[in-house]
Every structure is written in structure tokens, then in C-alpha cells.
């Protein structure tokens, strides 16, 4: 299939691996930022095929994983109210909050619905004038434009029964925070292709320059990742630290300016807590004052919640690449997709879930 088969070709994959073997003369540590990339790497076993010494560090780019527990608890508190329809992407439904999760709330009678786009949530609000419809808006720059469009659409329709619980996060501040950590082992980044399809890569140029780190904007198919790794290794071997674009079929330097405009209209940059990582300055989006009436956190009183993280979960260390899921004593035993202790075991993009789905165990493979 056009844009699918040609990026999964086994013969081309072998050729890229051979080229990588010829290119790498010394060990390198490369972080793929996005959970979608982690998923492809682990699912296809690409990280096991890389030449010895090239180690992939799995990054924090799983939106479900970094959504603060407080946001989840707020969503559940809102969903439990009579007259509320809580809408969300499917991944969020099984993430454990302090006391329960959205699926269990649904089984107990809460009206929790999976939607595939925030516009569906707006439609549900139109069709149910007597109900308050809340959309759980999480994600990186990738999902922000669609969420912005939903708010703009709801404003145009004059809806008073639609709101969003917003917990948007931004990639560059997270990369900067990782690089500021003195223990950071990352020598190059594969930037998230879909985030850059929206935002372009101009904001990565100062990061590459300041921290002397190569950044390769990379796609999500097996060959994209192999080529992205190869481009990063070439830069490292040659002592370059530039922003390069592997994902040319989707990404331009300036990004999608119409999408950026919509995001800038509806949201403003704010400090944001990342689950497992902590508060990062200017790392998130919240609704701009003009659209504050769509803020579910204001519409419903959700203060006074007491959130408790599971003490055993090492999600923060996994999200920053400091530890592997298999380093966690609970991995595969007390923490499984059936009984997740933390978000990375739930989301399809979570590193722990990706490892678990590929059957990786503690004794197999410590790259």
C-alpha cells in the first residue's frame, strides 16, 4: 500500500542495518521521544537488531503516561456526577486514578464514552442539551489543533454544555529538562514526526545548538526509525549537531501554520505537571482567558481531591529513560496491563505496555 508497504520492506530494512553497522564505530545512546516510535521499535524488535553499542532510550512521549494523576482524578470526579457525559480517547479509560478508573466508573453507571475525535464530543453536546459533555483533552502538540478546533466550533455554536478538562503538554520543554539533568545519557534525539508535522522543527534548532545534540525528525514506520537512527549516528560520528528531517513526506520546517494559529487562538502556554517527572515551566497548554468558559476544571468544582501515586511504580524513571520497565520489581508481576500500577503499563504508547505486549521479561534482553 502506498505510504505503508514501502516503509516496512524487509530487504530495505536489512540494507539500512548493514549501513548502520558500517557507520557506527563506537557506542551511542539515542532517545526516541515519542511513544508511537517506542511501540514500533519494540513491536518489530528493531532495537534488538541494532548494532551492538547503539542503545535506544525510550522517551517521555506517551500522552496518557504523562497526564498527571490529579487530572485523572478530576476526570473521574466529574464523570461521577449526575448529568455528565465524560468523553475521552479509549486509552485513558483504563489508566488507574487514586481510587478507580473510568472503565470501572462506567460499569457503575457513569456515562463515559469513547470518541475518536473531539468533534464527536461537540456533536454529543449538541444532541444532549440537557447534559454537560466534558472532553478529556490530553496529548502533545499533535492533538492540540483538533482540540482547539472543537472549542472554536463549540463557541461558534454557542454551546453552554460543552467543556474540556485540559492537560496538554509540549515536547521541547521536556527535551530541555532531560538535557539539563546532569545524569542525562542521551546523545541524540529522534524527534516525534507527528508533533513536528504540526509545529515544524524551528523550535528544536536552539536545543540542538545549545546542548550540542543531534535531533532527527523521524516517522513511525520501521524503515523511518532505522533511517532516523542512521542519520543520528552519522551526525554523532561526524561530530555534527543539527536538526535534520527524516520524515520529509509529512514535515516541513515551518510546520502547519494554520494548525498553529488555531492552537494559539484557543490555548496559552502554561506551567504543567508531568506525571512521574514533575512540574516543568512553560511545558503545557491551558485554555486562553477568552475560552475559559469551556474549562471543565472551572465549571465543576474539582478542588480538594487527594491524589496518591503508587509508591512502587517507577514510571518517572521509565519516562525519562533512566530505567527500563524490566528494571522495575513490579513489572510483569504486580504490574500488568490487567492490573496496572502506573500509566506506562496502560497506554498503547507506554513503554511498559510495549515491553509487556512484546513478551519481554527481566531475563531476556537488557539492551
Amino acid at each position: 500500500m502506498k505510504y505503508l508497504d514501502e516503509y516496512r520492506d524487509p530487504a530495505l530494512a536489512r540494507r539500512l542495518l548493514d549501513e548502520l553497522r558500517r557507520t557506527a564505530t563506537t557506542p551511542w545512546r539515542i532517545m526516541e521521544v515519542c511513544g508511537g516510535q517506542t511501540h514500533t521499535l519494540v513491536r518489530q524488535g528493531i532495537d534488538e537488531l541494532l548494532p551492538a553499542g547503539i542503545r535506544m532510550i525510550h522517551g517521555p512521549g506517551c500522552p496518557v503516561c504523562v497526564t498527571p494523576l490529579q487530572t485523572l482524578d478530576r476526570a473521574m470526579a466529574v464523570a461521577a456526577r449526575p448529568g455528565v457525559v465524560l468523553t475521552s480517547f479509549g486509552d485513558m479509560l483504563r489508566v488507574p486514578g487514586t481510587d478507580t478508573d473510568l472503565l470501572s466508573l462506567r460499569a457503575r453507571g457513569a456515562d463515559v464514552r469513547v470518541v475518536y475525535t473531539p468533534m464527536d464530543a461537540v456533536r454529543i453536546a449538541q444532541d444532549n442539551a440537557d447534559r454537560q459533555v466534558v472532553f478529556l483533552a490530553v496529548g502533545f502538540e499533535t492533538t492540540a489543533p483538533a482540540n482547539a478546533m472543537a472549542v472554536l466550533h463549540a463557541a461558534r455554536l454557542g454551546l453552554t454544555n460543552f467543556s474540556m478538562l485540559v492537560s496538554h503538554v509540549l515536547v521541547p520543554p521536556a527535551m530541555t529538562a532531560l538535557l539539563e539533568d546532569p545524569d542525562c545519557e542521551v546523545q541524540a534525539f529522534l524527534a516525534a514526526g507527528h508533533v513536528c508535522a504540526v509545529m515544524g522543527w524551528r523550535e528544536y534548532e536552539p536545543i540542538a545548538e545549545r546542548y550540542h545534540v543531534p535531533i532527527v525528525v523521524t516517522g513511525f514506520e520501521p524503515l523511518d526509525l532505522l533511517e532516523g537512527v542512521l542519520m543520528a549516528v552519522r551526525q554523532l560520528e561526524q561530530g555534527r549537531c543539527e536538526v535534520e528531517n527524516q520524515y520529509v513526506r509529512a514535515v516541513r520546517r515551518q510546520g502547519n501554520t494554520a494548525a498553529q494559529d488555531a492552537v494559539r487562538t484557543v490555548f496559552r502556554v502554561s506551567d504543567r505537571a508531568w506525571r512521574g517527572i514533575g512540574e516543568l515551566p512553560d511545558s503545557g497548554l491551558e485554555l486562553a482567558d477568552e475560552f475559559a468558559r469551556f474549562d471543565a476544571a472551572r465549571r465543576f468544582d474539582v478542588s480538594g481531591l487527594h491524589t496518591v501515586e503508587d509508591p512502587e511504580c517507577i514510571a518517572g524513571a521509565v519516562l525519562t529513560g533512566a530505567r527500563l520497565p524490566t528494571d522495575c520489581p513490579a513489572y510483569g508481576t504486580r504490574c500488568t496491563p490487567r492490573h496496572p500500577l502506573g500509566a506506562p503499563m496502560v497506554s498503547a504508547e507506554g513503554t511498559c505496555a510495549a515491553f509487556h505486549a512484546a513478551g519481554r521479561t527481566k531475563d531476556v534482553l537488557q539492551p
Binding site: 524488535g45 528493531i46 462506567r106 460499569a107 512502587e312 490487567r338 500500577l341
Partner: protein, 344 residues
């Protein structure tokens, strides 16, 4: 090391949608709650059960709650016939007779009921099985969603065929009778209006003729399973578990239609865990593999049959491994619970 669950498990005291999804949650519910109460058998749960005292007769029952009622390639009526006919076929049986029980929501347009029943009758005639008894109940609005259908079937086994999930053995070749992922993605796309439904249709169809053409191979046909809920991943894991063997398949050999691959990519689904209603996996002795493949391909419903893997002579029993497109290996886990509710 603490053994106590560190977080409360509120989900345990009510039934979740995932308990009905055919994955690990369903197995846990059946094993822990249903079977003990019913003095159920221990050992592998097959698609159809032998009737006590009648070694050549098998029985199977299935309820259908699919939403929407009508979708490209089928509807709840034809699905209810195919589903039960196929469960019988997976034990090497021809369908002898079906019963049909309807639970109808008050207010269902008669025209819709007529369409469902007409389709059901047509599917039964095409499968060559009479519907010999039935039951009709109507409930208050909201007590069911439009119409739910149960079918129960009795089948007569081919004398030579004795397939069972427990009989797969080292050396076996794994065959797949057709492409995977069509039914689940079609129903989801139709229900949610995702736009793929113009390119794909459910594979809902009877499989007993595919079993018929393999009958001459007799006991060389070890295990048959139709990968419905939980998809191919679930079917292979069940056979690997029940037969205590490893199973290895080749990602590039598993036929996935392009529209299914595209839909799954967009939705974050794995085609191996998406439900099918018209294909089956067969574990056959290696000496019979070519003949079995030719037999499957001789029928229209097996035209795209393929050899997708084997039972290796060494490896961890119960584990299903996939050779990925780029040449690495990964474990194919039993799905926890299907992400798509009410697809059958």
C-alpha cells in the same frame, strides 16, 4: 516484597465490558466464577462440546449482540447462523440443526425484524442446516438494544476428524484459510462512521465446507479454530496453551487486507487481535500440509489460504512467537480484552 495489592481494586465487584471480550478477562471470569458454580469440566474449553454418551455429536451455543444490526458483508441474522455453524465445524462437525432465540426490544420496526429473519433463513439454507426450534421474547424499551439473538447448534462429526485445541504437536504446520481483521474493522467502521466501510466488508461466512474438504486427511488435522473475538492472537494462544506447545508465525505470511491494515494503523489496533467471522486456523501434520492447503484453496472461501507458521520442536510451551517483518522476534500475547465491544 509486598504481596498485597497496593491500590484498591474496585473493578472486581462488578462485571466490566472487558469480561465479555473473549480475552484474558473472559477466561478469568469463566474459570473463577462460571465453571465452579456449574460443575464445569476442567481442561480445554473447545468451540463446541461433545454430547455426553454420543461421541459423534457436538453442541455449541452463541449469543449475538452486534451493533449495528446491519453492516457491509452481513447482519446479525446471518452472523448468528455462521457463528454457531463455525463453532461446530471447528470440532470437525457438519451442522445438523440449529435453534434460534430472539430477545427483541419493544419498538423495533417490523421491517428491520423481517430483514434480520430473511437474512437468517437465507444463511441457514446456504449452509444446509435447518432451524428446527426457537423462542421469541419482547422486553421493555432499553432492556436490550434492538435485538439480541442466540443460536444453538448440534453437529455430526466426520468419522475421521477429531480436531481439538489440545492436539497440536511439534512439527505441525499452521495454516490460515483467509485474510484477518475484516469483521472487526468493518463493524467498528460502520458503527462509528469512520469511512472504511466502503472499502471492506465482514468476512462472515460458514466454514464447515472448508472442514469437509480436509476430512480425507483425517487425524492428520490436529487442531482447528476460528479466530473470532480476540482474533488470531487469541486463537493461537489458546491452542499453544491447551496443547502445551510453542507456536511460531511469520508476520509477512499473515494476509492482512490493505484497508484493514490502514484502519488498524489509524485506530491503534493490532490486526492480529481483531475479530474474524469467516476464516480458520488449522494445525496439520507437516506431511499433510501441502494437501490441506490445496484442499482449502479449492473452495472460494479458502482461496487466499496461506501457510503462516509452524509448531517448532523446541521453545517455551504455550508461547506464541512472531517473526517480524524486519526479521526480529517478539511474543504475541493473549489479548487482555478486545478494544471493540459488541462486534458479534
Amino acid at each position: 516484597m509486598t504481596l498485597a495489592c497496593p491500590t484498591p481494586r474496585h473493578e472486581e465487584d462488578v462485571v466490566l465490558l472487558g469480561h465479555g471480550a473473549g480475552g484474558r478477562l473472559t477466561a478469568e471470569l469463566v474459570d473463577a466464577l462460571v465453571l465452579p458454580a456449574l460443575d464445569g469440566q476442567h481442561g480445554p474449553l473447545e468451540d463446541a462440546a461433545l454430547l455426553p454418551g454420543h461421541p459423534d455429536l457436538v453442541i455449541s451455543t452463541d449469543s449475538f449482540v452486534v451493533s449495528p444490526l446491519f453492516f457491509p458483508g452481513g447482519d446479525i441474522g446471518s452472523l448468528a447462523v455462521h457463528g454457531t455453524v463455525n463453532d461446530l465445524a471447528m470440532r470437525g462437525a457438519r451442522p445438523v440443526a440449529l435453534s434460534v432465540a430472539l430477545i427483541i426490544e419493544e419498538g423495533l420496526p417490523l421491517e428491520e425484524l423481517r430483514r434480520v429473519m430473511t437474512s437468517m433463513g437465507k444463511a441457514a439454507r446456504e449452509a444446509g442446516v435447518p432451524i428446527v426450534t426457537g423462542d421469541t421474547k419482547v422486553v421493555d424499551r432499553g432492556a436490550v438494544d434492538r435485538i439480541f439473538v442466540n443460536t444453538t447448534g448440534v453437529g455430526q462429526r466426520h468419522l475421521a476428524l477429531r480436531p481439538s485445541a489440545a492436539l497440536a504437536r511439534p512439527g505441525d504446520t499452521v495454516l490460515l484459510s483467509g485474510p484477518v481483521g475484516l469483521h472487526g474493522t468493518t463493524v467498528l467502521s460502520t458503527r462509528e462512521g469512520l469511512g472504511f466501510e466502503s472499502d471492506i466488508a465482514s468476512d462472515s461466512r460458514p466454514l464447515h465446507r472448508l472442514v469437509d474438504v480436509m476430512a480425507p486427511l483425517g487425524e492428520q488435522v490436529h487442531s482447528l479454530r476460528d479466530p473470532t473475538r480476540g482474533g488470531l492472537a487469541s486463537a493461537l494462544n489458546e491452542i499453544a496453551r491447551d496443547a502445551h506447545v510453542p507456536v511460531e508465525i511469520d508476520e509477512s505470511a499473515v494476509p492482512v487486507p490493505r484497508a484493514v491494515a490502514a484502519a488498524c494503523d489509524l485506530l491503534g489496533l493490532d490486526p492480529l487481535t481483531v475479530a474474524n467471522e469467516g476464516c480458520m486456523v488449522a494445525f496439520v501434520a507437516p506431511a499433510a500440509a501441502d494437501e490441506a492447503l490445496a484442499a482449502l484453496r479449492s473452495l472460494p472461501e479458502g482461496r487466499e489460504a496461506a501457510r503462516i507458521g509452524e509448531v517448532p520442536s523446541s521453545g517455551e510451551a504455550g508461547r506464541v512467537t512472531l517473526r517480524t517483518l524486519v526479521g526480529a522476534r517478539r511474543v504475541v500475547e493473549m489479548p487482555l480484552g478486545e478494544q471493540l465491544p459488541r462486534i458479534c
